[in-house]
């Protein structure tokens, strides 16, 4: 049979049923589908409407979970129903209830979006997804009836698959609306995150804005003022949109924190109707407000990396990359300890935190040759405690193998610094203690290029900076 015949046959069958009045719901449903399709083109004008719309609309997030549960139940019943026909019968009822509740949820969703004046890509996508889902469910109901009457149909299962996919996509859009678009990715491991999406503010990643202002906006504001929703016509998801402001004008007045609408709104009394973030969302912390204020006072620059008078104490550093798992080497590690006296100690219970090379017990006799024996474990060693040992400039060359080294203690050794340049390939090194050695400032020059070296100690060396009582010198 040709496809056209099939379709005509199907339509004719439907028409028969309608005429017979045996299935009044088919008529009702067909009418619904027309309504749904027309709604697809309904414009959300971004203006708030009557309050009662919102009052009912706010039950949407509650109601929406009923059809979701039922839809997810469907394939389970259908598959199990292949063996137990009673379950297949139940599936029919579940499908019909799912359709009914889905339509109610869509209606309430529209009330919410229209009433609250929502607009934005995510809202539109969520709405269209919901309508598509409703339509697909309706088709399922229709197609499934024909199947039950003796025409097992692949179409039904294809439709069901489509329903599930649509559901997932629509639900994700809805989730993004309530929890923010970055809800799933916020706590993603930084490496994955960098791979997946370069930051929206990648142009000046080290600016004060990027490090201290944007994160506050990102976590507290963009759920309502971002790509998902643009309440008040305001978007806060980039420097440009922040400075552009919204319907009420600009929100940031450079050098005038008190005249900046954004700062005014977030510092109102929480009970004030104009307080932001609205609707009981987590307010900005005093710390965040202080940073934004200082940034605005300093001119609200997109590029400046620091703001005068604003010391950010103890900035949390991004966790260093994990080292490999050394568990397979445990036997050898124990053996090294017994034969060498120096210890390889776990930084923590997590093997990926690496090992500490600890020489305290035999420091005086621990020399370059001994150090060379630890080369095998080099990639796992993050902290080498070589203070007061007999390690010399030659030993430093071995240390080049310690790729994951973060802290290196060489205090009170015979080091002259002749070979320190070799260490510049240790990209993870943040701490280097050269106190009480004969290192000169010339020997330190190659270390300037090390990106992460933040703590360099030169107490009681020829290279010690002149300022009294401070051996600390930053290379940056």
């Amino acid at each position: 049979m040709r496809l056209a015949d099939k379709i005509f046959g199907f339509a004719g069958d439907l028409w028969q049923r309608l005429r017979q009045g045996q299935r009044p719901w088919i008529g009702a449903s067909c009418a619904t589908v027309l309504v749904l399709l027309s709604l697809l083109f309904l414009p959300l004008d971004g203006r708030a409407h009557a309050d009662w719309l919102q009052f009912f609309g706010r039950f949407h997030p509650l109601l929406v979970h009923l059809p979701i549960g039922l839809i997810v139940l469907l394939p389970v019943l259908e598959i199990l129903g292949m063996r137990r026909p009673s379950l297949r019968e139940a599936a029919g009822l579940v499908l019909e209830i799912a359709l009914g509740t889905c339509l109610v949820a869509i209606l309430f969703g529209l009330l919410l979006a229209y009433g609250a004046g929502e607009s934005g890509t995510t809202v539109t996508r969520h709405m269209r997804g919901g309508i598509l889902l409703g339509s697909e469910l309706l088709l399922c109901v229709v197609v499934r009836r024909t199947w039950l009457e003796g025409q097992p149909s692949r179409a039904y299962f294809l439709l069901l698959t489509a329903v599930l996919l649509t559901l997932t996509w629509t639900a994700h859009q809805g989730g993004s609306l309530t929890h923010g678009g970055d809800y799933l990715t916020r706590y993603m491991p930084p490496a994955v995150k960098r791979f997946l999406a370069p930051s929206a503010i990648s142009s000046h990643p080290n600016s004060f804005f990027a490090k201290h202002v944007y994160p506050a906006l990102d976590t507290k504001c963009i759920a309502c003022h971002g790509t998902n929703k643009e309440q008040g016509g305001l978007r806060l998801d980039s420097y440009e949109s922040l400075m552009a402001g919204g319907k009420d004008g600009v929100v940031i007045a450079p050098r005038n924190p008190d005249g900046s609408l954004l700062l005014q709104k977030v510092t109102l009394a929480p009970s004030d109707p104009h307080f932001m973030p609205a609707e009981g969302r987590t307010p900005l912390t005093p710390d965040e407000i202080a940073r934004i204020r200082a940034w605005v006072r300093a001119g609200a620059s997109a590029e400046a990396s620091s703001v005068p008078g604003m010391v950010i104490a103890g900035e949390r550093e991004e966790a260093p990359p994990p080292v490999g798992d050394y568990s397979a080497l445990m036997g050898e590690i124990r053996q090294m300890q017994q034969t060498q006296g120096a210890k390889l100690v776990a930084v923590s219970a997590k093997p990926s935190d690496g090992l500490i090379l600890r020489t305290t017990d035999i420091a005086a006799s621990f020399d370059d040759a001994q150090l060379a024996k630890f080369e095998r474990f080099a990639p796992f060693i993050v902290d080498a405690e070589l203070g007061r040992t007999a390690v010399t400039d030659e030993g430093v060359e071995t240390l080049v193998q310690f790729k994951n080294l973060r802290a290196l203690h060489l205090e009170d050794t015979a080091l002259t610094g002749r070979t320190l340049g070799k260490l510049s390939s240790l990209s993870q090194l943040t701490y280097l203690n050269l106190s009480e050695t004969r290192v000169t400032s010339d020997a330190l020059l190659p270390l300037k290029s090390m990106p992460n070296l933040r703590h360099l100690y030169l107490f009681n060396t020829p290279a010690e900076p002149a300022s009294p009582e401070s051996g600390l010198r930053s290379t940056q």
């Binding site: 390889l344 776990a346 923590s348 219970a349 997590k350 106190s435 100690y457 401070s470």
Partner: protein, 515 residues
Amino acid sequence: MKQHPLCSDCEDKITPMDLPIPAGLKQEWSKSESRRQFLGRSGKVLGWAALASLFGEASLHHRAFASGPMQAGSAMNNLGLPHFAPKAKRAIYLFMSGAPPQVDLFDYKPNLATQFNNDMPASVRGNQQLTGMTAGQARFPIAPAHWPFSQHGQTGTWISELLPYTARMVDDLTLIKSTNTDAINHEPAIMLMNTGNMNAGKPCLGAWLAYGLGSMNDNLPTFVVLQTKTNPKENNQPVSSRLWSSGFLSSEFSGVGLRSVGDPVLYLEDPAGVDRDTRRKMLNAVEEINRQTLAEVGDPETNSRIAQYEMAFRMQSSVPELTDLSKEPQSTWDLYGPEAKEPGTFAYNCLLARRMAERGVRFTQIYKRGWDVHDNVVGNLPVLCQETDRGSYALVTDLKRRGLLDDTLVIWGGEFGRTVYSQGGLSQDNYGRDHHPRCFTVWMAGAGVRAGISYGETDEYSYNVVKDPVHVRDFNATILHCLGIDHNKFTYKFQGLDQKLTSPVPAFVVQGVLA
């Protein structure tokens, strides 16, 4: 059976060893001699699983783990510690026994100057229990700090002029002004501060650390206690070894006190006529005997004893090296001051603490007594500050310039605070201050904590905490956190409880002070 002349047991008492039973049975009996082990074993045999875990197996198992060369053997600590990568490898605790008056030193209350001799508002005092020393007072006159405060450092932190050296390092300090405790008298308060419990018998912070993190140096104790020489003019509250006891943990984890006068450790030197080889041979023999005892009796304390003999032998060379200050450069004396040359002073102890930090001592606690200023604050407090101010500053600064502050946590504090109202008569020239558990100031510096912040606030009378209270338990939980330990997971089964430093009452790491 020949009786020892000093033994008071009656001679004809028959023990199972005298019975005509098989030797194997006698051995069995000897193994089950202690009540603990008897119960443990019978529990096993009879399947009294609950009883066994309460008294016997679990704690024995734990102890067997804990004793012996635990950390020496493997990269991984058997207890699975640290739970996460720690910021601090070691800690130094400057304990100000007797309770320094926060309102005279750190907790600046400028408004009190106008309130001299006014009565404390009853609403502020509430129905708080007072000590017997002031409960009978007819009135509670406000005694403002006698010394002016000024702002210091980049952070503009207010510090009393009594602490000119501390003032220089405020940018390195984390002041916690909202510390509070449950106890109002010294003994329970100092126990609570050290062990998390007001009653003696629980392990102290240092013992927990020694047990959990182990030694970083086989030649020195893991946990050392230094006592500062007392000044007889000060009101010295007793400080005793209960405070550095290992409680129910194996006794090898208790603090080792170094004496301030004479030999740092008594009887460490070989007696006349005994050279080091002879000593070694003697120790080998003793160890052999002890191992036999351990095999027979299975008492874990025997293990501790063996470990302690060995430690003492190694300390014969390591302690003299530790306390030999002759190689310290002149810059050390410039920093710590001339007092540091005199053993037993606070400055000397601070210098020793730095040397121990370099040599891998995990936890050093320095006790300074005499802060119990019930009267004559104006006379005593400047002396107390003068004794401790420079040493504390020198320690933090020395650690910092040598790169040790990156992995060392320094803690300064007492067991409670002191009242803002005067105990006894208040005059323009003098006043006294009573015990005050509701708020006191402590500071931390170094690895794991945010430098240059003040955390927590008290009301305008420095009487009640109004923002971010930090209970002693929270404080201890925070210290453990800096050392990579989750205080809720760090437990030891004893008396049927998973015992921990922070006690069964919930405690919370103070996130606001963490770096």
